[in-house]
Every structure is written in structure tokens, then in C-alpha cells.
């Protein structure tokens, strides 16, 4: 990539006034650092990525509404977590956290456990308990 080929496209970074730095070759064949506002190819895959995550959130919401999963699954997706990450945040084995994703098991959870989840998700205990989708 030549210095004048460094992409200066619109990007999420640009909207936050952040430039990123890349290395490119100048006219004398020397490597120099150049600032870039972003690259379209990258923005495309980032949006694709977020779109898929949004679909997962929507799916989880529908599943909560249909009574297939507990609110924990919805808030997990909302926070872009997977089972392992959530388990690490609440300090429990993944196996148990997955069980808490079942509506019946969720109903029988004690306040202390629920409070842990609520804290991780940054919501109140009642918001978590009463979440109907």
C-alpha cells in the first residue's frame, strides 16, 4: 500500500473523531506511518457483525416472549456475551448458567443469585424478574 492509497473512508472511528494509524510506503520506498479515517471493507464487516448480533438479540427476545428461555438469555445477548463470558462474570460454572436460561429453573432461583445476574447486566432485580419480553 502506497502512502496515497491509505483509505480515508467513513467509519465508526471517524464519527468519534478518532484516526487510526497504518504503515504505508512513500514515494522513495520508505515505510512511514499515516493516519487513516477508516476503511470501507472493515466498516462493512463490522456492520455485518453487529447485524448478526442484533438478530440474536431479537431471537432471544422472541424466545423469552414465547416462554422458551428465561430473561437471562435475552440480557446475555444484549450484553454481547456468550455462556462462558456470562458464567465468568457471575462466577458460576457454565453448566449452571445454562440451566438458569430455562424458564422453570429461572423461576426457582433465589434473590441472591438473581441479584448477581442483575448486577452483571446493570439492571435492577425487579427488571430482571419481571422481564416478559
Amino acid at each position: 500500500m502506497k502512502k496515497n492509497e491509505v483509505p480515508q473512508d467513513d467509519s465508526p472511528l471517524k464519527r468519534k473523531n478518532i484516526n487510526e494509524m497504518v504503515y504505508a510506503v512513500d514515494d522513495d520506498g520508505k515505510f512511514v506511518s499515516v493516519q487513516s479515517t477508516g476503511w470501507e471493507a472493515k466498516t462493512v464487516v463490522q456492520h455485518e457483525n453487529l447485524e448478526v448480533l442484533d438478530q440474536r438479540i431479537q431471537q432471544a427476545l422472541n424466545d423469552v416472549k414465547a416462554g422458551n428461555v428465561s430473561p437471562i438469555v435475552y440480557f446475555m445477548e444484549l450484553n454481547r456475551m456468550d455462556w462462558q463470558t456470562l458464567a465468568a462474570y457471575v462466577g458460576k460454572w457454565t453448566f449452571f448458567v445454562k440451566r438458569h436460561g430455562k424458564p422453570n429453573v429461572f423461576k426457582s432461583l433465589n434473590t441472591k443469585t438473581l441479584q448477581k445476574y442483575a448486577d452483571v447486566f446493570g439492571i435492577s432485580l425487579t427488571d430482571l424478574q419481571n422481564f416478559k419480553g
Partner: protein, 331 residues
Amino acid sequence: MQADFQHKQAAHCENGAIVNLLGDKGFKISEPMAFGLGSGLFFVYLPFLKINHAPGISYRPMPGKIFNRMAKRLGIKVQRFKFSDPKKAQQKLDENLSKNIPTGLVVGVYNLPYFPDEYRFHFNAHNIVVFGKENGNYLISDSVMDYTVSLNEDELEKVRYAKGALAPKGHLYYPVSVPETIDLTNPIKKAIKQTCNDMLAPVPLVGVKAIRWVAKDILKWHKKLGVAKTNYNLANMIRMQEEIGTGGGGFRFIYAAFLQEAGEYLKNQELLNLSQEMALIGDNWRDFALEASRVVKKRSNTENVYQVLSNDLMKLADMEEAFFKKLKKAV
């Protein structure tokens, strides 16, 4: 209590933290040189490890490796601490700052408020440098940004105690002593040899062999998982390749810049030639990323596009294999 700290932007966070921390100790080193001496160029494929619901692909060695290797090769002493108690972690940091010691931290990206939403994932190996504290706010040099930022105590504790894969556990580091004069000749040679050995490693998970494995798996994803999932995996791969913090295609350019600097230092013409060749390989990685992003966007359904991507990746693996064999002989 703000040290007269100079924030220098970098292409990759770990290199940047190294450059900024050592710069503060009066040791000037360029980002490419730090990256090259730390043998930062790498490729690993972990199909059984799912990260953000996609197979794990990394273009860099384990977090901390780049600095550790480089420090070892140059005889720089680095102190590292982890804390099970967040209060102790903050205490140690405050203590350092009161002694004017800018301090590197490993943090999770998800809760960094200054990052755009598109960059917020549970990725726990980002490097920042804290260089001061003003009115309870920590002054942060995040080397992938062109300006410095600040975080309050709660915000900083949250990112230092991010959980999940590679949880940083308050990880904190800083150089304690730097030798007065350093001859780079042997460190450069050793570092280049290690990168060559990594990339040519005779195991399927690492280096060019791993790149070939991914190339084959792209076809398998398409047949077995369908277009949507394949595109998602590809999108993740390209994110790992080109996004800040992880690098990949961009890494080839940093490495090319390193080879140029190394070639000039060692007066080795072959390294200078190879640095231009590495830049061409970098261009090919970028072409691959561009092509993949087109596939992801169009959601094209023909068998052919994945075959093309797979072939491109195979070609990249061949180019890199030939390249690193030559590089190994050049030092």
C-alpha cells in the same frame, strides 16, 4: 501529579504501550522495531475455540508476549503484577503514579467508554498506559487513538476486572530498568528467526499451515453451515485481521517497516528487498479482506465465491511460506 509523558500513536495497542512506556524511560524505539523484536507476526487457528460465536483466529501471539520477548532480547527488566483484589490493584497503580511511573495495563475492551459501539466486544487483551491522575480521573494513553483520554476510578476498575477468556485480573506492568546502550544486531537476528520458525511451524494450528487450514474450512463452512454462518465467520476473520488491537493485514506492513529498519541497521540489502516483498504480501491480505467484505455484503450464494476466497488464502499461504524460507536464510 502528571508525568511529562508523551503520547505516541501506534497501529497496534501492545506495541504502542511498549513504545510509550520505554519512551518515558528515555529509550527511543520505533513501533515496527518493537513489534519485530517481539516477534509479533503470527498466525494461529483454533477452530474448536469459539470467540464471539466464530472460530478463533488470531494474527498475533498471546497478549504480553511481544513485550516480554522484546524486553528479554534487549535486557530490559519489566515488572508485572496481577491482583485478585481490585482495591490492591488500584493501590498499586496509584502508588506508581505518585512516583511518576507511567504504567501499562491490560484491560477488556467492552466497557471502554471512548470506543465506538462497533469495537465493543468482550475482548480482554487490550493495552493502555495510565500516565497520571487528576481529580480522581486517570489519564489514559490508548495508543490506537490519536489523543489521550481519561477514565474515572469505577470505569477503570471495570475494564481491569473484565471477566471471561483472558481475564486481565488487574494486570499491570512497567519497565524498571533499561540498559544504557543496546546493540540490536543479535536481538534482530534472533527475533527474525523466531518469526520464521513460528510461521513455518510443522503443526497445523500455527503459521502458514494454519492459514491453509482456514482456506479449506471456508469451503467446509459453506457446505455444512450455510451462507449466513459462513459470512459471519468470514466477517469475524476480517475483523481480527484489520481491526485495531488485533491487526493482521496491517501487521504485514508493520513487519515490512521493521525489516526495512533492520536491514538499514544491519546493512543487509536482502532484508531491504524482503521488506518490499512483505509489503506486497500485505497488499494481498488487504485484497483478500476487500474480497471477503464484498462476499459478506452481497450475500452471494454461488459456490464459486467461497472457492475464490479459499484459493486466495491458499495463495497467501504459499507466498508467505516462500517468503519466510527466504527470510530465514537472510539473517
